[in-house]
Subunit: 567 residues, 2 copies
């Protein structure tokens, strides 16, 4: 294609309100156009990148037996009622509207319930299983904010796949094959070496789900990686041991209760008591099913609710209200602690608290904090300490003893084992060989296609512009003509035709811009290979060739050029 | 693909509530799944057909220089305010919702305004033009009813293209090339010989737009075709001359006024007066801009408002309210007519009224109709009669004198010349060679992709099922294995591999169903070529081959089979 035929134009500046790097670059280079916050149109260049990414994903999903289909965006209430997910309190990102007769309709933010509804009509016997189906579908999500460019949109394209298996074993085999297929996708788009399969929050059925997290400065997530292996955890599930605290006293001092009306918060308390935060504690009260629970962590940590829920094996877990706290402790919020803990409250203490000497805790009286507390002497030492803290920098992976490497990442994929939970909710069953009804084992597998394009723009770019890989680039070669004389035009046109005859897709800058502008455009648009035709190269009967990722150009004859591009 | 790998199943019955033939067949054969009225999911078979159609359209749009892109479904109010089309009174099929901050958003039922908004940022100079861009996009339309299967959905896929030209001449050249490209599309999908380019309602800028109308029993439109040529008109714009009325009296009789309180409507009046409807007249009162107009047609015709508007050259034209009628005529509605017509009312009479003798008309008094009216004697004969009637069966094309052939049709495409109207509304201009601002000439070009699939299902099917053409079929060959013994399985598997090695896509029925069921499935699914492998064919070292469109099978050796399928 010639740039003169392309309607988009490069721009020096991105719109002022656009804060994300991916959108700034993609807008400036003419790949996307911003319709509104979190909503982008994809111009011819952008659509080519999207389609290249989709094709890679499609090939890998087909390779593991995926059947492609396409669902609808419009959703009816009944489809989502069975799982309770029509409710705006449960799912707060629905876009909804109404038919003329007043019937509510929603715009799909996910297709899990809709796919199940459809599959139920076809899959009735064990002979029909296993199957897996997938689609590339536009999802609509009513996000509160949308400032990450195409990495988190209100409208975006997702590849979502769903597997149906007769039992856990069949499910597990497919689940593993999907992990491999996903990694092949991320390898092919060039992100294999910075993408980790992580453990992420599970659900009712499974301890962990898996995510695919790519190291990316603009990412919204953090992962905790064990340095000696590729194993990594999302922050919210990373098992953690606190590093040893160097300044722990060895002598126990006398307990004393500090009267300090209005003094709350570990920062202020540590300052007032002139002790490090590592010798304060934080006590949070929860209602776990019908039991009142006090969760205690060291003052420099936060409670990890998912870990706490797992320890308690609780279905429902919610923070106690201020009134609850007053009822239980008899004190204002901010003074809960291990001293004077009311009977009937179950106490769970994080393992970072075990080595504490002369530590602070709330006294369950308004305005009172207890200092120089020691286990057994002042408060009962728990039989077992648990890991209920949110991991943080410097923490150790308990099993290996290694200090985690922490990365800022973007979630590019996730896979989820529903077990038979969702099948039970939606009554999705099959008849087994004995004629008995069994629930289908379900899995769900997502790749954010537009997000992936955003991550590629973030990671494969420099101060000059984008740097697409051969696999996803909208064109493989950027042909620059320097000179508008007849001979140069003819030579460039000839090379343009020749490259295409080799099966290479070319973007040909046939404009009359100055050479500096043309080179700047080439760098901004980021096609992987650049070839220059000019009176100088014509005189030498050679071509100037440069990779976008390299600084130096080479002078090549036509044969060397061909072997570079077709090897 | 093997049918055992396909999750869909054929069904003998369509859902009871599904009334359209296309959806009944497509659901039974496993091409679509109905999510709700007017909203369908496309299963792997259905998606293959859709993608084949899209690819044909894509190739033809690219051939005329189209650049593919993809816009967003979410739309903001500002984009549509300039043309007034955000207003639900102007466009009554919007689905709308709200962002978290209360901002209204819409879901695109069209992309005209959105595309213009985007193109305005890129196209500023005459050097940037002409360009044309297109997309395959899901449109959402809040239709009151949705009973035509995939031919009219609340969610459907459309190819929409937009052209920008510097002047009328450049626009016209592209407009003509788009007509040719559209006809190539309809030829390639097999509808060329039943698809007409018709004249359809224009707009403010142009007398006619063009539609592509395919003869189809399930269609919602009617076209009027001139038998000796391919020229055709949509019903609403068909110029018409009434055929001569054989029983017209030759002697004028005395006028008389019939008192008949409550007698209104030409049917009742004709019966009471014992005259044919062809000797009654119908007078409709309109407010045209600020003028009161009486439109008079023969009693067996209806007024065509578009024709009337063109005669009046009026911007606004609306039917007078009942109160208006009482004010103007002094009579209750139902008695307006040529007798006692109040002054100041402009009278437009249809040309079918010119030859009337002894005709009836309203007397503008409640309960009074005038009979045996004759031009000049009783009422002023207009200087000019106009064609303001809605054409009907038997009518004549005035220029050629030929009686129209009328077809029931489905609109599969439309093209529209906006001239500079929409550019003015949206302030879309470019700088010409003299540095002057000029408005862009715009055109819009649509093909309903899912509707086209529905029309194909309607037209290419019989009592046994679907009959896809080679170009759009999900697979080219349906391979039926009769027999589950080792030798037959091996022979069928071998042929399956061989067909694929020839580059032919095959759906292989490897099930253990009875032969009758397999043949019924083959007919229902409608793959164009069927091949049977059975112990009998193996014994003969031949294959049974049958086209879906033919009744008789042939016995072919492998070479003949190959030449049939690859010729």
């Amino acid at each position: 294609m010639k740039t003169s035929e392309l309607f988009t134009r490069t721009a020096r500046q991105a719109p002022a309100e656009e804060v994300s790097k991916n959108a700034q670059l993609l807008i400036r280079a003419g790949y996307v156009y911003k319709m509104m916050a979190g909503v982008y149109a994809y111009t011819p260049l952008g659509l080519r990148v999207l389609e290249n990414i989709k094709q890679i994903v499609r090939e890998e999903m087909n390779a593991i037996g995926g059947q492609e289909l396409i669902m609808s965006s419009l959703q009816k209430k009944e489809t989502w009622d069975a799982t309770g997910r029509w409710d705006d309190e449960v799912v707060d990102i629905w876009f909804k509207s109404k038919l003329k007769d007043g019937t509510e309709v929603g715009f799909a933010w996910s297709h899990e319930e809709a796919i199940i509804e459809m599959l139920k009509t076809y899959l009735t016997s064990y002979k029909d299983l296993p199957i897996n189906v997938y689609q590339f579908q536009t999802k609509m999500r009513n996000e509160l904010r949308a400032k990450s460019g195409i990495m988190r949109g209100r409208e975006f394209i997702m590849k979502d796949m769903y597997s149906c298996s007769i039992n856990a074993e069949q499910h597990e085999a497919f689940y593993q094959s999907s992990i491999d297929a996903y990694m092949r996708v991320f390898n092919r788009v060039g992100l294999g070496d910075v993408t980790y399969v992580t453990f992420a929050s599970g659900g009712a059925f499974t301890q962990y789900s898996h995510e695919f997290q790519t190291i990316c400065e603009a990412g919204e997530d953090k992962i905790y990686q064990i340095p000696s292996s590729g194993q990594a955890f999302n922050e919210e599930v990373a098992p953690s041991r606190a590093p040893a605290f160097a300044d722990m006293p060895t002598e126990q001092e006398d307990m004393n209760v500090v009267e300090a009306e209005g003094l709350t918060g570990v920062g202020a308390i540590a300052e007032r008591l002139a002790i490090p935060r590592e010798r304060t504690t934080k006590t949070m009260l929860y209602l776990a099913d019908d039991e009142m629970v006090a969760a205690v962590v060291r003052g420099d940590y936060a409670v990890n609710v998912d870990k706490l829920r797992a320890v308690l094996d609780a279905q429902k877990l919610q923070l106690a209200s201020e009134d609850n706290i007053r009822d239980i402790t008899g004190a204002e919020p901010g003074y809960a602690g291990l001293v004077n803990m009311p009977e009937g409250v179950r106490v769970i203490v994080d393992d970072a608290c075990e080595p504490l000497v002369n530590f602070e805790t709330g006294a369950n009286k308004t305005g009172q904090h207890a200092a120089n507390i020691n286990w057994d002497r002042d408060v009962t030492k728990p039989d077992t300490f648990h890991d209920i803290k949110m991991a943080k920098k410097g923490d150790i992976h308990p099993e290996t003893g290694e200090v985690y490497t922490i990365h800022k990442t973007a979630e590019v994929g996730n896979i989820f084992n529903f077990g038979t939970q969702k099948s039970k909710d939606t009554n999705f069953s099959y008849t087994d060989e004995q004629g008995e009804l069994q629930y289908v084992h379900l899995g769900s597998y997502g790749i954010g296609v537009t997000r992936l394009m955003g991550v590629l723009a973030e990671n494969f770019s420099d101060e000059k512009g984008l740097r697409w890989s051969d696999e996803v680039a909208p064109f493989r070669v950027y042909l620059v003509r320097i000179g508008n004389d007849e001979e140069t035009i003819s030579a460039a046109d000839t090379l343009y035709a020749k490259l295409q005859s080799w099966g290479i897709e070319v973007l040909y800058d046939d404009s009359e811009k100055r050479p500096g502008e043309k080179f700047a455009d080439a760098d901004l648009i980021g096609i992987p290979h650049r070839i220059v035709v000019s009176p100088k190269t014509i005189a030498e009967e050679k071509y100037e060739y440069k990779k976008r990722t390299e600084d130096e150009a080479e002078i090549l004859d036509i044969e060397s050029l061909k072997s570079r591009l077709t090897q």
